[in-house]
């Protein structure tokens, strides 16, 4: 019996040493991991809201999160644009995209933050062609009217990815529904509002 206890104690000691060693590495890398995560989000926000100098996260009373972009550090002026996360159910994952939009309802850029679609098909939503710096699929959204975003198969202007209509549609439709929410909140204007 005492031998068994000795074994258990030895194993316990090894585990404790391991846990402390990991704790140390965790403390060292923690800041870096958090920084990296924040950097990705910051860059994405800057990408989709190129005109904004200061971007502030806002939560509605219902718990929905969106971002307001201001042209200057001063946040008392009207925001130049809004950014919002859109979640669309694709073929093999929920695609998460960040969309930037101006008050006029014109999309200033989108960036897909997460997707696990089929490599070679749906995953092309993030494909950057050789010699280019941004994704050809996501670039198409720039300048489009947010409330009218749709893939070509649904009569819209967004060229869908060959063989991945579900993915393309998921991105377009999730963006459109977020735009509709922004409009309902009165943050962006629709086509008809702009005429007057």
């Amino acid at each position: 019996m005492s031998y068994t206890i000795k074994l258990a104690v030895t194993l316990g000691i090894v585990c404790i040493i391991a846990a402390f060693a990991l704790g140390g590495v965790y403390e060292i890398t923690k800041g870096r991991i958090a920084f990296e995560r924040e950097r990705v989000m910051k860059e994405a926000l800057q990408n989709v809201l190129p005109r904004a100098k200061n971007i502030i996260q806002t939560t509605t009373p219902e718990g929905k999160v969106y971002f307001r972009g201001f042209a200057a550090e001063d946040t008392s002026a009207a925001p130049v644009g809004y950014a919002i996360l859109a979640y669309g159910k694709g073929y093999s994952s929920t695609i998460q995209a960040l969309v930037g939009v101006e008050k006029s309802g014109e999309i200033t850029g989108i960036q897909i933050l997460f997707q696990q679609e089929t490599p070679g098909l749906g995953a092309k939503a993030e494909e950057v062609l050789y010699g280019e710096t941004d994704s050809w699929f996501q670039r198409q959204f720039k300048g489009a009217s947010g409330l009218e975003v749709a893939v070509d198969k649904d009569g819209g202007k967004i060229q869908s990815i060959t063989g991945a209509t579900i993915t393309s549609r998921a991105v377009a439709n999730s963006i459109k529904s977020e735009m509709e929410w922004l409009k309902k909140e009165g943050l962006i204007l629709s086509e008809s509002d702009r005429l007057y």
Binding site: C15, A18, A19, L22, Y91, S92, S93, Q116
Partner: protein
Amino acid sequence: MDIKILLIIAIYSILIQNFVLTRFLGLCPFLGVSQKISSAVGMGMAVIFVMSLASAITWAVYTYFLDPSTSILGFFFSEETLPNLTFLRTIAFILVIASLVQFIEMVLQKKVPTLYRALGIYLPLITTNCAILGAAVLNIDGFSAIGLDGKLTCIQSVVQGFSAGVGFLLMLILMSGIREKLELESIPESLKGVPIAFIMAGLMAIAFMGFSGLSI
């Protein structure tokens, strides 16, 4: 409890994202024990058993010890000093699985010797079967494809572990059936054994891709 989501998880883990064919988990036993149907069934059953249990236990360990938001360690620490131990996930899970396998082996040997004789030789192999650890990790990471983006609930985890095991058993049986037939075929000398088994697995993976179109 939503039964529908459990059913979706089951179909997803058995057919759509079969562990062996699309995630490449558990390939070593898949090739090692798929020569005869009888041993394939034994191994598959042992995996189902361990995987369901391991799913439940690793889920509990993660929820009640590692994740600071639900940890029972909250009794001993104040909110601010409560340690975030999620980085110990891998080490905790593999230890849980290794001890669980040992424990099952001892219990079976003492209490259910018939079952032990049937599954016994497969149990030690299971510790290093990546499918078990894979299932445990996936339960925490969630299944984005079927709308489960965060950690699964306990019941969902067990159902996921069980059906991933069923999917594994299914593949083992199909594969061993094919390999028993392949023995009698004349195939190039250099492709005999493992190489042809891989090519067969590739063909099966193509067939199973048909399921990925299921809208659930």
